[in-house]
Structures are given as structure tokens and as C-alpha cells.
């Protein structure tokens, strides 16, 4: 197996004046080409870990290596290789979207993606020449993502990349991020959006109170925590009722057949475990 791109061991951060650690001993690795998701309640320490791994926060304990070199041994050339999408969108408000990206592109020695192409990718092509001051939150977030991609980084850090997006744009952005992984980039992303985590991530880590509660693939989580089955809504004597029938006993259980025979069934839904259920279960037990 390849050496991991990110290798963090017992990472610890305590902010000045804080009573407890914001990051209280996290150990994880991210493999090359992997899309790795950080999920967890607000304040769990997700963005703090990103700040450490992007070398913006230097006061941490434990050890962290990226591309096989300890973080502290990296210099400015580190930023040639990583792309950072910050939690809060901030751009040069007085400049247009295109000017913003052009200004950023000049900072890199690596050849940059054409600005127009990049803006089209995040559906900002039509507003390329408008000042960013007048952008909506979703538009700013998409510009934020474009900014992180401009120099074709080997490793992407994306904090809430689908924040503030409608479902159509969110799906499009997931596709953009997927494409990054397809061309070989490694992606470390933080999100509260379970659909994004489920459809995009190869593995997710649930983070609670500065610790990693569990790491696995979304599918494995859903299997482990889910109770697959069907949910039946039926009406008997004018009264609406419902029943949940586990999948493994469905064949042996005569209730569904009875209800169907009586013509009482109104709806039948399969009830797979969603990542939302997993999130609720994992984080509740650790809080």
C-alpha cells in the first residue's frame, strides 16, 4: 500500500485561554486519491484540524506528516501542493470574480487553470465580471472552491464545500470534487451535509468533542448502524396507523400479507439506514 498522504498521530490543540482541548488526541490517515470526510457536531474541532494541517495553526501537540514530511519541516512550497477552501468565504470584494481568481493564480508557480473554465465549472461564468461584493453566500462559497482548485493541487482541504448551496448546485459541486479525486488528488473535507458525505466520501470520520469516535466507509456505517426494513402505513376503521417490519423477518412475518389482503395498506417505504441515523447514533453515544 502507498504511504498515506496525511498521517496524523495524537493531534492535540488547546486554544489560548480555553479550559479544554479543542482537539484532544486524534489519530488518522488519509490515503492517496482518497476522499476523506470529517463529520461531527458544531464545535467538535473539525475546522481546527484543518487549520493545523494547512499550517495556519502552529501550536499543536502530537505529530502530523503530509506527503511523507512532518508539517513543521514544510515551507512555502507546501502551499504549491495543497489547495485550501476555507469555512467562511472571503474574497477581495472590490474585485470581480475573474479578477479574484487571476490575482490568486499569479501567486502560484504551478500552471493555473484558465479562469474562465474554472468559473464555468462552479457556475459563475455568467457573473465573471461582477464585483464579488454583490455575490450571494452560495456564490461566494463556489468562488471559494474555485480558488482552492486553481493550481491543480495534489491535496485539497475543503471546509463545508457545499455550504449555502441549493440541491442542484450541491450535486454539481460534488461532481466537481469527485473529478478532483479522479484526476488523482486527495481530498480532506469537512461537512454537515450527510448527502455530500455519503455520496462523495470513500471514508468518513465522526468527530465528537475533539476526538474521533469512529472511521469507516459510509456504506459500512449504514450497514452497521442501520436496521433495514419496510415501513407500512395502513388504515383500519378510518384510523391511520403504521408498522415497521425488519427486512430479515419480512418473509416469515405474515402481517404485511394480512394488511395487503385487507386492502388497508396506503404506503410502503423501504427504511434503509441513512448517514443521518448513523450521525445521530454515533454522536449521541459519545457526547
Amino acid at each position: 500500500m502507498d504511504r498515506p498522504v496525511i498521517d496524523a498521530a495524537d493531534l492535540r490543540v488547546r486554544y489560548r485561554g480555553a479550559e479544554s482541548d479543542a482537539v484532544a488526541g486524534m489519530t488518522f490517515t488519509v490515503a492517496s486519491g482518497e476522499v476523506f470526510g470529517f463529520l461531527g457536531p458544531s464545535g467538535a474541532g473539525k475546522s481546527t484540524v484543518q487549520r493545523v494541517l494547512t499550517r495556519l495553526l502552529r501550536g499543536y501537540g502530537g505529530s502530523a506528516s503530509v506527503f511523507g514530511r512532518p508539517l513543521h519541516a514544510w515551507g512555502a512550497e507546501y502551499y504549491e501542493r495543497i489547495g485550501v477552501g476555507f469555512e467562511l468565504p472571503a474574497a477581495f470584494g472590490k474585485l470581480t470574480a475573474a479578477e479574484n481568481l487571476a490575482a490568486v493564480a499569479r501567486l502560484y508557480r504551478r500552471p493555473a487553470l484558465p479562469v474562465g473554465e474554472l468559473l464555468d465549472l462552479v457556475d459563475l461564468g455568467a457573473v465573471a465580471d461582477r464585483r464579488v461584493d454583490g455575490f450571494s453566500k452560495g456564490m461566494r462559497m463556489r468562488l471559494n472552491l474555485a480558488r482552492a482548485l486553481i493550481h491543480r493541487p495534489d491535496l485539497l482541504f475543503l471546509d463545508e464545500p457545499t455550504g449555502g448551496q441549493d440541491p442542484v448546485h450541491a450535486a454539481a459541486l460534488r461532481e466537481v470534487i469527485r473529478d478532483q479525486a479522479r484526476r488523482g488528488a486527495t481530498v480532506f473535507l469537512t461537512t454537515h451535509d450527510m448527502a455530500t458525505a455519503d455520496r462523495l466520501c470513500d471514508r468518513v470520520a465522526f468527530v465528537v468533542g475533539g476526538r474521533i469516535a469512529a472511521v469507516d466507509s459510509p456504506r459500512a456505517f449504514k450497514l452497521r448502524y442501520g436496521r433495514p426494513g419496510v415501513r407500512v402505513e395502513y388504515r383500519i376503521g378510518g384510523r391511520l396507523d403504521s408498522a415497521e417490519l425488519p427486512l430479515d423477518r419480512l418473509a416469515a412475518d405474515s402481517r404485511l400479507a394480512d394488511l395487503l389482503a385487507r386492502g388497508a395498506v396506503e404506503t410502503v417505504h423501504t427504511r434503509e439506514a441513512s448517514l443521518d441515523d448513523v450521525f445521530a447514533t454515533v454522536t449521541r453515544s459519545r457526547l
Binding site: R55, A90, L95, A103, Y108
Partner: protein, 251 residues
């Protein structure tokens, strides 16, 4: 050299909003010196001595020093919103020399200061200002050097204070006595001894004296050496501290 290249890039990036909107970028800060020249300078013509006879010759160098002081020491104000919004943090996550982030900004402010002070000079000459061209050029150079120092200190202050209401309060309380004790508005020779002594401790007063001598073409005046030395010292100390701060901020 990456530092020079990065400084140039940051300089261009900082300059762009000013070029987009030159009236607000350059014009408004010219208002203060112009008002002083229009509404205060005429008062001086009634005063006894050299000040009254050639009030513009006496007053203009001081007004330019005041422009340099305000123009550069409030420069950090522009950084505060970027610190708050995270725009500055983004630059720290790019392969740019940290020191260049500071120097590029300072250079932008200096370029603007040069344009503004030249504009003031050209504006006042038709009203009877008599200057030695060489002396005025040297005088502007001294102001630019001092501006490098003050601008750097201002950005350092912004980065350590970060709060939008504390920063102007600190600046107001430092620039006000500097101006009052500089001899820009009235000659400190009129002051009682204790006040005069205080003004001699004020570095700005030496720069103002040097400006007056230089604009008159009096290169041999001892104040020229002292004032230029003070300006240079401010710049060197500020740059040394600023470089250290930026290196520590992130490497």
C-alpha cells in the same frame, strides 16, 4: 528573488482597488491637507516674522509631513476587515513570502503618498509657493522613508490589536500629540520652555524642521541631517520588527 517578486504581486493586488476607484482612493485623503491650506494657512499671513511673510513656504512642508503621518499611520485600518473576514488568512495559505505581504502593502501606501504630495505641491505652486526643486524632491524622499516606517508600524498594530474599535482609538491618542508637538501648525519657538523641550523629544518635529530646510534648498542646515536620520531610523526599526513578526506569524 521571490521576496521582490511577491512584494510586487502584493503591491499590484493592493493597488487595484485604488485604480478602480481613484476618487475615493486618492481624493478624500487629499481633502484634509487642502482644507488646511485653504482655511488655515491664510491665518498665518498675519503672524510676525518669516512665517507671516512667506506663510505658504513655511506651512506647505509641514502640511506634507502631516499628510505622510496620517496617510501611513492609519494604513493598518484597511487590513482590519481582511483580518476579520479571513481574506488575510487566505494569503497566508498561498505560496507567498510572508514578509512580502507586509512590504507590498507598505509600498502601495508609499506610492499613493507620492502621488498625493506631488499633487499638493503642483496645486500650491501657482499660489506663490517658492521651492527649490531639488530640495523638494529630497524632502519628499525623506517623507516617503518615514512613511515606510509608520506604515509598517500601523500594520503591525492592526495585526496585534485586530479589533476595529481599539485600533483608531490607539492611533488617535498617539498621532494627536505628535501633531501638536511637531511645529506643523505653529512654530514651537513660540512655546514655553517645557513645551519646547517636549517637542524636541518628538521625532516628527525633527522631520518637519528638515522638510522646511530642504524645501528652501538649505541642504547645509543641521536639521536636514537630523530629520533624515530620524526618518531613516523609524523605517529601519519598523522594518526589522515587522519582518520578525511576519516570519513568526507563519513560515
Amino acid at each position: 528573488m521571490p521576496l521582490l517578486r511577491d512584494t510586487w504581486l502584493v503591491f499590484l493586488r493592493q493597488l487595484r482597488p485604488t485604480l478602480h476607484n481613484p476618487v475615493t482612493g486618492l481624493g478624500f485623503s487629499l481633502l484634509q491637507p487642502v482644507l488646511y491650506l485653504a482655511l488655515f494657512a491664510p491665518l498665518l499671513s498675519g503672524m510676525p516674522g518669516a512665517m507671516g511673510r512667506n506663510s505658504l513656504d513655511w506651512f506647505v512642508p509641514g502640511v506634507l509631513a502631516m499628510l505622510a503621518l496620517f496617510g501611513t499611520s492609519f494604513a493598518g485600518f484597511g487590513l482590519l476587515p481582511e483580518l476579520r473576514s479571513g481574506a488575510h488568512e487566505r494569503l497566508l495559505a498561498a505560496p507567498v513570502s510572508r514578509v512580502a505581504l507586509l512590504l507590498g502593502r507598505v509600498m502601495r501606501d508609499i506610492a499613493i503618498l507620492l502621488v498625493q504630495s506631488t499633487a499638493i505641491l503642483l496645486l500650491v505652486i501657482p499660489f506663490g509657493l517658492r521651492v527649490s526643486p531639488l530640495g523638494a524632491a529630497a524632502g519628499l524622499l525623506v517623507l516617503l522613508v518615514m512613511g515606510v516606517g509608520l506604515g509598517t508600524l500601523s500594520y503591525m498594530l492592526a495585526m496585534s490589536v485586530k479589533q476595529e474599535f481599539v485600533f483608531p482609538a490607539i492611533l488617535q491618542t498617539t498621532t494627536m500629540p505628535l501633531i501638536l508637538l511637531s511645529g506643523i501648525l505653529l512654530p514651537m519657538e513660540l512655546a514655553p520652555t517645557w513645551l519646547y523641550t517636549l517637542s524636541r523629544i518628538n521625532p516628527l518635529s525633527h522631520v518637519v524642521d528638515a522638510e522646511r530646510a530642504l524645501f528652501a534648498g538649505d541642504f547645509g542646515d543641521p536639521s536636514v541631517l537630523l530629520g533624515s536620520g530620524v526618518a531613516l531610523a523609524v523605517a529601519v526599526v519598523a522594518l526589522a520588527l515587522g519582518t520578525r513578526l511576519m516570519r513568526r506569524l507563519a513560515a
